[in-house]
Symmetry: none
Subunit: 206 residues, 4 copies
Amino acid sequence: MCPKIVDKKLKRQQLVKAAVGVFSERGFKGTSMEEVSLRAGIGKGTIYEYFGSKEDLFYACFDWFMKMTIDQAAEALKECTGSEEKLRTAARVWTEVVIRYIDFCPIPLEVWAMASTGSDNERFSTSLKEMYASFRTSIEEMLREGQASGEFRRDMDVTAIAIMLVSAFDGVLLQSLFDRSIHISSYMNSFLDVLVRGMKPDLRKG
Amino acid sequence: MCPKIVDKKLKRQQLVKAAVGVFSERGFKGTSMEEVSLRAGIGKGTIYEYFGSKEDLFYACFDWFMKMTIDQAAEALKECTGSEEKLRTAARVWTEVVIRYIDFCPIPLEVWAMASTGSDNERFSTSLKEMYASFRTSIEEMLREGQASGEFRRDMDVTAIAIMLVSAFDGVLLQSLFDRSIHISSYMNSFLDVLVRGMKPDLRKG
Amino acid sequence: MCPKIVDKKLKRQQLVKAAVGVFSERGFKGTSMEEVSLRAGIGKGTIYEYFGSKEDLFYACFDWFMKMTIDQAAEALKECTGSEEKLRTAARVWTEVVIRYIDFCPIPLEVWAMASTGSDNERFSTSLKEMYASFRTSIEEMLREGQASGEFRRDMDVTAIAIMLVSAFDGVLLQSLFDRSIHISSYMNSFLDVLVRGMKPDLRKG
Amino acid sequence: MCPKIVDKKLKRQQLVKAAVGVFSERGFKGTSMEEVSLRAGIGKGTIYEYFGSKEDLFYACFDWFMKMTIDQAAEALKECTGSEEKLRTAARVWTEVVIRYIDFCPIPLEVWAMASTGSDNERFSTSLKEMYASFRTSIEEMLREGQASGEFRRDMDVTAIAIMLVSAFDGVLLQSLFDRSIHISSYMNSFLDVLVRGMKPDLRKG
DNA sequence: GATGAATGAGCATTCATTCAT
DNA sequence: CATGAATGAATGCTCATTCAT
């Protein structure tokens, strides 16, 4: 007669929010759809109105994490000009995200594990690969920009630095999770001080 | 009086070997004890003669990975003298392990995921914490040695560098898993070139 | 909004009914949840919507048997006045229950066995102890009432008679199970004739 | 060459002794052959040199309990002359056995439960039936002897009394197990005082 | 004779998903 | 639209029994 009008988008988001919490606490396999529905305050069956499967729901959670991170980075980078500044801003945003959302960081870990095992989780490994490629490329661009502008040495392996920086960022997430007493932002800065010094052109020749 | 004589130690190791393969392919939850037993060519019940539970078996797999890595590193570091040499050797061993055992690298990923979620897997998170602490300390020692000998600058944050290097190593494992076309060893070297340059004392003042 | 409406109480009872049958035929350990579900005409998993575990289900079966017996006794005793009448009524009800529900009498036997072994089935032994204490007390009251009214001798050990009567009742259940040709009700009556005669005050002195 | 010479009879008995303990503590299903072998201080496989199956072993335990009881009763009754004396002696022996072997009384309980459920335990129910029939007959004989000698009334239902006495004996075993604080021997005596009084011929007519 | 390593049938329990209401 | 009762496939684990030594 009069189908209830529901803001599907909104409800979907609320569902993801609840799911992100449960998945973070219990892991993918350890999470039951029932607990998610309880946490979201809806019926168990209702989840399936919004997501086709548990995996779909989990993917949406991961997607939320990724998009959120990318948005924060994009926002912050908008106002940056220098290459070093960009690099340091990217690092800062990442550490801020890790610190702020540390409770949800088990989600990317789960995704890593899922993507690395089983051939059926194609979708996760593809997503990850794309994401990493995009991150790497962004970093590479910053570095190349710096080379062009003379900020950075020309004889360094830009791809290598980019890959290793992305690696270090991921690793920082790990370390933070396993030892929450670590203050990553200052460590990240100190580390970048040294690395950037190594990337600067030789002054002796100036 | 004359019971069947079996080398339990050896059989246990063979079992771990089979299990490492299955866990790597399917993940912890995705692996059934039956499949492990099939792969090992023994009966399902026999596994329980050697391991008390699925988790015990998995822990043994992780333990194998850890010990193997540590052994390789210890072996290689025995012959090193200089600080930079040690650092580079550690990095080389790690990349070699990652490349050589790339198929089994999902195991540490699983452990990361398990340790980050759920409060029950105490044993995994404790092991991880200890392992990382030990790695960090080793690197710190190398760096401090280098500072003492004048190889490295005295004004750098040794702890920060150590944490970030460990992070980078972990991240490298991740990147390798998700994009097997990456040649990490050369990247690792190029990266260390830059980083070490940043750690070297200022020559201008010489 | 319009979930399936089910009378959970009723379904629970039906489930108990089916379970009582299977447990009686096969014993606790010999009964598989699958067989119960088959007998009840529902899915295996559905049982767990109503009972947390096999033991819970079995306890409900025992509870059903106890409550049913107690109810019948209470109902019949309501209309009794004299002490001897009460005693004979209790005996009659018990024999009627045993005869009527002889097929389900293996259930109390199982409970006896469970309660006597293992320290875990606390719940069963506690229940049994309480039940027996209550039975004994009821009988004792009847006897004391009879003593007060002069129906029964004052120099008999009321507690002893009560305990032994309860014992005899239990034993009757056993004998009935193992030899279904026994007609317990007439035997019970003849026995009570003799016992009651022994409990009557000495007439010589009258 | 020289097969070890073993007193099979003796070892069998030791095995039964160990098994009686474990079965009493854990019940039939709760007992593992391994634990029995451990308790007996022999290898798991060795049990099968003496007993064809777990059920065989358990049956031997029950048999031990039965035979032991019967022996004690036979021994004690040898010296009895009067009917009442015999009756009281039988009761005394039974209570003594129950008190002395209370820790092993779960075994008959288990047998009751096994015999009452499942059609496969033919052997247990047959044994029980025979044993009870024999007990009943013995008691009946005592009572009839008493009638013949004028000790007991002629108008009582001997079969009924016999059945109910056997019942009461069984019940006493139960009550003792569930409430170990009960002092059955005095209760048994007080009870027999009353019952025997009821069985005595009417003195008024004397 | 004695052993204990190996086995695999058997079972309680979980949980993603469906669908009648 | 929303629900939660119902389902049954899937799985970790146990243990009586066998048999090579």
